[in-house]
């Protein structure tokens, strides 16, 4: 297993597609910093006695963008092997396909939360630095108060990556896996809120994008399209299900299918 892990780690490190996804994830930092700066300018332009207002948690915004980028990274790590035919080279070198899939999942499932953690802590720091002591609602507190939501969002990043990877292993197609991922990421939660009561809340609570906030929320969640019915442990469990079910479904298929 160490050999497969090391090989997949080398592959990820030398994959341009993966780097593009990681760069896209990291790009959430300047985006968040810019929003914070714009807010600070607007705040400062107000006369001191009219300065009220809030800023939505920028770590959450950054996490939202990152989940897609890192999910695509997971999807491409498998589907690009199929589209280029390299999967044959891979399976000829490592005939134990389950081991290859596990190694890919382990590598991507580790790189994604580490990246997310680094970006989120940077976003937290940048927001604090830019907004500083302005008494705006939603300015993040000390890391000792904020680490729980940040950790939950890092876990969410790992979940999306493994979800993308699993769907790609099932479909063997970059287009199909990215489409599934993108649909779960945006249109499905948008549509779920229009389901009849109480199903909008129920479905919204188990969708992948709303789980981190149910484990630990960085701030007011008013107006979220997601539901809020799960206890933290339930949300964490649902995360594990989203991450592992496609992978476990792909496992037996991978073994019997022609490469």
């Amino acid at each position: 297993m160490t050999d497969a892990l090391a090989a997949e780690w080398l592959k990820l490190r030398t994959s341009r597609a993966a780097w593009y996804c990681l760069i896209a994830a990291a790009a959430m930092l300047p985006v968040a910093a810019m929003i914070a700066w714009t807010a600070s300018q607007a705040w400062d332009a107000l006369p001191p006695d009219e300065r009220t207002g809030s800023i939505s948690p920028l770590t959450q915004l950054a996490s939202w963008g990152m989940t897609l980028a890192l999910g695509v990274m997971g999807a491409l790590s498998v589907s690009r092997e199929y589209s280029s035919g390299m999967v044959r080279t891979t399976f000829a070198a490592m005939p134990s396909r389950g081991r290859v899939l596990a190694a890919k999942a382990a590598v991507c499932g580790a790189v994604a939360p580490v990246t997310a953690l680094a970006v989120l802590v940077s976003v937290w720091g940048a927001t604090r630095m830019v907004l500083g002591d302005r008494e705006m609602e939603g300015v993040p507190g000390a890391l000792s108060q904020e680490w729980e939501p940040i950790a939950a969002m890092a876990a969410e990043a790992a979940m999306f990556t493994l979800l993308g990877l699993g769907v790609a292993a099932l479909t063997r197609s970059a287009v199909a896996s990215v489409a599934v991922l993108g649909t779960l990421w945006y249109p499905v939660p948008m549509m779920a809120q229009f389901l009849p009561e109480p199903w909008n809340e129920r479905v919204g609570s188990v969708l992948p994008g709303g789980l981190a906030a149910q484990i630990a929320s960085p701030g007011p969640t008013g107006g979220s399209v997601y539901g809020d019915l799960l206890p933290p442990w339930g949300a964490a469990l649902t995360m594990v299900v989203w991450a592992l079910v496609p992978l476990l479904a792909a496992w037996p298929l991978l073994r019997v299918r022609d490469a």
Partner: protein
């Protein structure tokens, strides 16, 4: 899973100057009688198409076995089955006495080049060989050495997608050989190579076989294989057409060129006696499976005059075309 066999590739070499990947002085003598590649009644279907139909052949060590057949004959499918990539619907394809998938570090036992394009176009050749080497515990130095020796060190850090087909073939060969395997399985390796590359490949494969290794080399062109291979396994439409030595095929490819004022009648008579008859452009017939004397006697006994007859050699290419064309007709 049982542990890997001791890897010959990791043994220090007595003389690293002697093109390391070509020679292997430390390799223990193997049982040269055992068939290293054993395809037995192999059948593979894709939907309704039968790509390989009860194909059986063997490839032995110390020889280059040419695996020959027109496009779509089932060569690549057979090779994929041999490497455990495709699951056979019947029969088996074994390497070194068992299925390929049992190897933990297969690149050190069997080197394969199936599709030179089967790599991430965004990754450099060096990175490609490095991950392959790492997956099979082959020292990284061997991968770098293989790049040098395959003549692609100059392009080793460029994008693989920008390489010419010939360069990618060389990269594929480097990948196949860096683990110092005792078996080589190469699918159309000379595609895209320039004349220098073709000669390089031919000499390389000859040297590998001379070293006691087993080489299975597929091609759809007789010309590519006849100068390299010792044995020929010819397939068409998924089935075996001939399993022969190159020499036997040459010797069996003598024919008789015969002219007659009644070529149609003569052709019927000769075909009735089991000969192969092919009409030429100028009314002459090319007859196979009979010598000049037999043709003359057959014509005389049927009362057909001959204006001339002479033995002719048929090119291997032509013999091959006939073999595969016959298989095509039989299947129709």
């Amino acid at each position: 899973m049982s542990g890997p066999p001791p890897a010959a590739g990791l043994r220090p070499r007595a003389d690293p100057e002697v093109r390391p990947l070509l020679r292997c002085p430390g390799r223990p003598a193997r049982d040269t009688l055992a068939a290293v590649i054993e395809v037995d009644e192999l059948t593979k279907r894709y939907g309704r198409t039968t790509a390989v139909d009860r194909l059986s052949f063997r490839a032995e060590p110390g020889a280059v076995t040419g695996f020959l057949g027109p496009n779509g004959a089932g060569k690549s499918t057979t090779m994929r089955a041999l490497l455990g990539l495709d699951r056979p619907d019947g029969g088996r394809a074994h390497v070194l006495g068992g299925p390929y998938t049992r190897f933990r570090y297969p690149l050190r036992r069997v080197g394969a080049l199936l599709d030179a394009g089967a790599l991430d176009p965004g990754r450099s050749p060096r990175a490609h060989l490095h991950w392959l080497a790492r997956s099979n515990r082959i020292p990284r130095a061997k991968a770098d050495q293989a790049l040098e020796w395959a003549g692609i060190a100059g392009a080793a850090d460029r994008r693989a997608g920008g390489l010419s087909l010939g360069m990618r073939q060389r990269l594929g060969v480097a990948a196949a050989l860096m683990g110092d395997p005792e078996v080589l399985v190469l699918d159309e390796p000379v595609n895209g190579l320039d004349p220098d590359g073709v000669r390089w490949m031919r000499e390389l494969l000859r040297a590998q076989a001379a070293d006691g290794r087993t080489v299975l080399l597929s091609s759809h062109l007789m010309g590519e294989v006849s100068q390299t291979a010792d044995r020929l396994v010819v397939v068409a439409r998924g089935g075996l057409v001939a399993d022969t030595s190159v020499r036997a095929l040459v010797e069996g490819s003598e024919g008789v060129l015969v002219r007659s004022p009644r070529p149609g009648d003569l052709a019927r008579v000769l075909a009735g006696r089991g000969a192969g008859v092919e009409p030429g452009a100028d009314g002459a017939l090319t007859v196979t499976g009979m010598d000049v004397r037999e043709v003359g006697e057959a014509a005389a006994s049927a009362g057909i005059p001959l204006h001339g007859s002479a033995p002719v050699g048929i090119s291997l290419e032509e013999a091959y075309m006939r073999l595969t064309a016959d298989a095509g007709e039989a299947a129709r």
